[in-house]
Amino acid sequence: MDLAATIVLNGLTLAALYFIVASGFSLIFGLMRVVNMAHGAMYLVAGYVGYSVFEPLYDHDLWYAWYAGLAAGVAFAAVFGALVQVLLLGWMQGQELRQALVTIGLSIVVADQLLAMYGGTPRQFFAPDAIFGSTRVPGIGGYPTFRLVQIGVAVAVGVGLWLLLNRTKLGMMIRAGVDDRQMLGACGVNVPLVGVAVFSLGAALAGLGGIIGATAQPLAMGADGRFLLISLVVVIVGGMGSVTGTALGAVLIGLAEQIGQAMFPTYSVVLTFVIMVVVLALRPQGILGRA
């Protein structure tokens, strides 16, 4: 019973991280129809940039080291995302294949640059004392506090995105742009600029995931590919461009991974793809996707 509850909680904390990263991916795809293959690279670059801000501060025992690293990583990813849209992808609006190829190339360049600068040693953030250590969870016992915080951050991201999309003028523009991009332009809205904002926000969420992820487990080369793949699977399962769908997809995939690893470790890798295949066969637009 304890074990089952722990596995479920592990699945949910993993799902929280997946949701944070994949929601950015889904947001970008929803408005821009860009399959951002550099989304994992944004996760990775934010982790490393955040770490290089975090490390010297942490060595000086400054309490805000982790927060500064978080802010730096997220801010860097946001600017990086905006630049990618302005300098590269904005020129090929509507050419999905070219955009996918360009972002694949970009992620290779980014990964190699990071390898050259930081080497291959894994890095890990240490969470500040307030969210470090363990908390007693009823029915489970001691559980790492940070992983609970992770769930809190994911819920905050979800609520924040919902409020942004449903309660602000930018949100109205994004939703209208998903429906009919051309008509939104004819209404006098600078759609390319909205696109830059969305791209920047999506990249910032990847960056937030990068810092959170690198606090929960070590950050190493290859995380970019892993989180890109996870984002793809999560939004394919949940439905492209739907925040709720992304949350649902993340929970399904997170739980499947953890349960699979506990029950049949050898074949657990296959489980997520089985879910994806089943969803694609029965409901190609994703569980909550619009046809």
Partner: protein, 233 residues
Amino acid sequence: MLEVRDLHVRFGQAHILQGVSLSVGERPVAIVGRNGMGKTTLCQAVMGLVATSEGGIAFGGRRLNGMPPYRIARRGVALVPQGRRTFPSLSVDEHLRLVAVPGASWNIERVYRTFPRLAERRRNGGAELSGGEQQMLAIARALLMNPKLVIMDEPSEGLAPVIVDQLIAVLRGLPADGMGVLLVEQNLRVATEVAEDVAIMVTGRIAAAMPAARLVGDQELQRRYLGVAAGGR
């Protein structure tokens, strides 16, 4: 206000607009013609939604060709597109708030006074409206931008006759707000009741332009250009 000169639009091999020249001033202008003659393409070209290959579009002395739609819109052109193209994800009220200009002559209160049906449906999504309600919303969305010129592409399409009468009344009032009107219509009654000048479009060209009264009175002309049987529409 709007000057279109020898405008050509091609989609690949298809030569859709073959040298359209047209000018719209203070008085409403209507364009009539059969299906597939290029009327919608002309509207889209002026709004910047399709690329033009030759010729010029000038608005208030400024060349519009190649400008992105949002800059054309900000110069004072609004489009009520064919098929309404309201946003399914936005409520009626959100459509209006998206484009409303604070303190302008057309504001949200005036829209709700003019189209009381929209006020009743303000919380409903764009996808939950009837065809007529969607059309009112598309018109309201354009008027709220307080444009200098509003282009309407078949606004009466699919509307019940009683709503068409209401539509005509709204359109006839627009020049009083200082709004220019370019109206594309299949419905000859709407075209001629709103506009005093009518242009007839045939295979990508303006084949003839005349006072509306003359077209109304000449069934031979109607038969030749519009394929309307005597006494029809």
